[in-house]
């Protein structure tokens, strides 16, 4: 089969790889029909995530058709069209029993601090991912869901991570009616977080980024007020002015490890790897939220410590909520919102690349060329 393969930082190519096989009775093999590159894939691509091995196939946002099932699989049949959450989870450990699917304890031998994720280094379990023609899907009775007939494939693939994470991020903010919500980052996750903030009753939604095309999308897709931080000497001061010197009631941090905004932090965190990524967005969140306010963090960081302004977080009496998204838990409610047109994930898609062009796709997305917000990968065109 053809698959994207990591060759070292900033280098990937498409190779012929052996087909995945059933390794556990509850495995399925899925033929991928549509995949996406996630912003967090760029952390792997840039060599930020420890234990990213040469030969690894990335990709945790994908949908496909069940090609083969293991002997104990009951809920899926060959030929089913399925969407697969980015989390690999067993459904039976202490954490899964309580809905913490992203924190499953039975699928990642390499670390206890993070669950299993498709194609996301050995630090999340060493599973090859879905930017390929076929992928092994463990716990086929637990993770995948048949794609509803009415659902557009591009919405389905985005619901496997980016959209679900945006919706989850807004929930982490514990938004109350009339709250002023600031979303840091107008990427795929931030756009859906901004849309979701309204569903939860926000009175005002402001989105901060530096890329004009993304801010324009935040206005059109999420009806948000937008702020290009490069136009202000200090975006935190501007947020204070905008909120009558209170600060935002809620800040949703949808940026993560590769934040721009501080050249020093960026170089220390992402080029020199002295931190688990640049914490500038997290620090802006801490500084922009009002005292006693809440921050929802869905931006991804590595396991190496970051220079976070924890003293300010303490002194301001903040609540910081965070997690990797338990995707499947979001789906029933999100399906309603997508069907009703309240959440419109596929509006964010800007580029579609055949698998064979994935090196260019990564470069375009990484350098944010050509107004790229969300690139999809078409394995069938390989």
């Amino acid at each position: 089969m053809r698959a994207m393969v990591y060759r070292g930082p900033y280098k990937i190519r498409v190779e012929e790889k052996p087909m995945p096989v059933i390794e556990h009775p509850n495995d399925a093999i899925v033929r991928v029909t549509l995949a996406a590159i996630c912003g967090s894939d760029l952390h792997l691509y840039h060599g930020l995530m420890p234990d990213t091995r040469v030969g690894h196939t990335f990709g945790h946002e994908f949908i496909g058709v069940v090609e083969q099932v293991g002997s104990s699989v009951q809920n899926l049949q060959v030929g089913d069209r399925v969407m697969v959450p980015f989390n690999i989870f067993c459904g039976s450990c202490w954490y899964c029993a309580r809905g913490l699917y992203s924190n499953c304890h039975n699928v990642n031998p390499n670390a206890t601090a993070v669950g299993g994720i498709y194609g996301y280094s050995h630090t999340t379990g060493g599973y090859d991912g879905g930017q390929s023609q076929y992928v092994r899907v463990p716990f086929a009775d637990v993770g995948p869901v048949k794609i509803p007939d009415w659902m557009h494939d591009e919405d389905a693939v985005l619901l496997t991570d980016a959209a679900a994470t945006g919706y989850f991020g807004a929930q982490l903010g514990e938004i109350a009616e009339g709250d002023t919500v600031v979303v840091l980052g107008a990427g795929p996750v931030g756009l859906v977080a901004a849309q979701s903030a309204w569903l939860m009753g926000a009175g005002r939604v402001m989105v901060v980024d530096q890329l004009e095309e993304r801010l324009a999308k935040a206005r059109s897709m999420a009806h948000a007020e937008t702020f290009n931080y490069t136009e202000y000497d200090d975006i935190v001061v501007e947020m204070k002015k905008q909120t009558d010197h209170l600060g935002a009631d809620v800040v949703i941090e949808a940026v993560g490890a590769e934040a721009d905004g501080s050249l020093l932090q960026h170089i220390a965190g992402t080029k020199l790897k002295l931190q688990g990524g640049s914490p500038i967005a997290l620090n802006w969140a801490i500084d922009s939220v009002r005292k006693g306010g809440t921050i929802g963090v869905v931006g991804a960081y590595g396991p190496i410590p970051n220079a976070v302004k924890f003293g300010d977080a303490l002194n301001k009496g903040l609540t910081l909520n965070m997690n990797q998204t338990p995707v499947k838990r979001q789906w029933p409610r999100m399906f309603e919102h997508v069907r009703n047109g309240y959440l419109t994930p596929r509006d964010m898609v800007t580029h579609r690349f055949p698998l064979e062009d994935i090196s260019e796709a990564y470069h375009v997305f990484s350098a944010k060329l050509d107004g790229c917000i969300k690139p999809l990968i078409l394995p069938s065109a390989a």
Partner: protein, 197 residues
């Protein structure tokens, strides 16, 4: 002394800035307030005990066969019943990885730094190995730099602050290659001089 109404909200007991009414927001924003009640939000209760809803039909999953002594965090009681089998450790990078997992827990910085070191060693091992194959690594095609021409590299970066550190990317990618080539040249020169003596 400013008029009271000029004093910002933060200094008085209530927000002065009026928000739109529910009706105005509903008219303007599709779906405004449909998840207003926290009970409607799927992750409202972080811990929600519902083991019968996950699809699992086991108490503890059957164990996947272990084809090699699978490296695992020492914070785990054992190798988890299901795990990835992609890219088993090999070569010098594999030795470093196995040592890091066996020696250090996740709380130790050494664990993660050794894994990062192993990643770099792995890349070099694989680059060298690739030169003995019919498909050697090609930094031009593998970096996708062609997209600079096909997707407006210069125009796309106009006015962006991150363009500053994009200048560092070629250094990150090419720097080790240039350093290695320089080292090789110096080494060969030293060797030639030693032989001549």
């Amino acid at each position: 002394m400013p008029d009271d109404k000029d004093i910002p909200s933060a200094y008085v007991k209530d927000k002065r800035t009026p928000t739109e009414s529910r009706e105005e927001l509903r008219a303007r924003i599709p779906g405004w307030g449909v998840d207003l009640d926290p009970a409607d939000r799927p992750s409202n209760h972080r811990l929600h005990y519902a083991p019968d809803t996950t699809g699992a039909h086991w108490d503890f999953p059957e164990r996947q066969p272990e084809k090699w002594p699978r490296e695992h965090s020492i914070e785990h009681a054992f190798v988890t019943p299901v795990f990835g089998t992609a890219q088993p450790p090999k070569g010098l990078s594999g030795v470093i990885r196995k040592f890091s997992y066996a020696r250090y827990g996740e709380a130790r910085l050494g664990h993660w730094l050794l894994l990062i070191l192993a990643d770099r060693v792995d890349a070099w091992e694989e680059h060298l190995r690739s030169f003995a194959t019919t498909r050697p690594d090609n930094p031009i095609t593998e970096t996708g730099v062609k997209a600079e021409y096909t997707h407006g590299g210069l125009a796309s970066r106009k006015g962006r602050v991150d363009a500053r550190h994009h200048l560092l990317d070629p250094l990150v990618v090419a720097g080790p290659w240039v350093a290695a080539a320089g080292g090789a040249v110096l080494g060969v020169r030293k060797l030639v001089r030693a032989v001549r003596r």
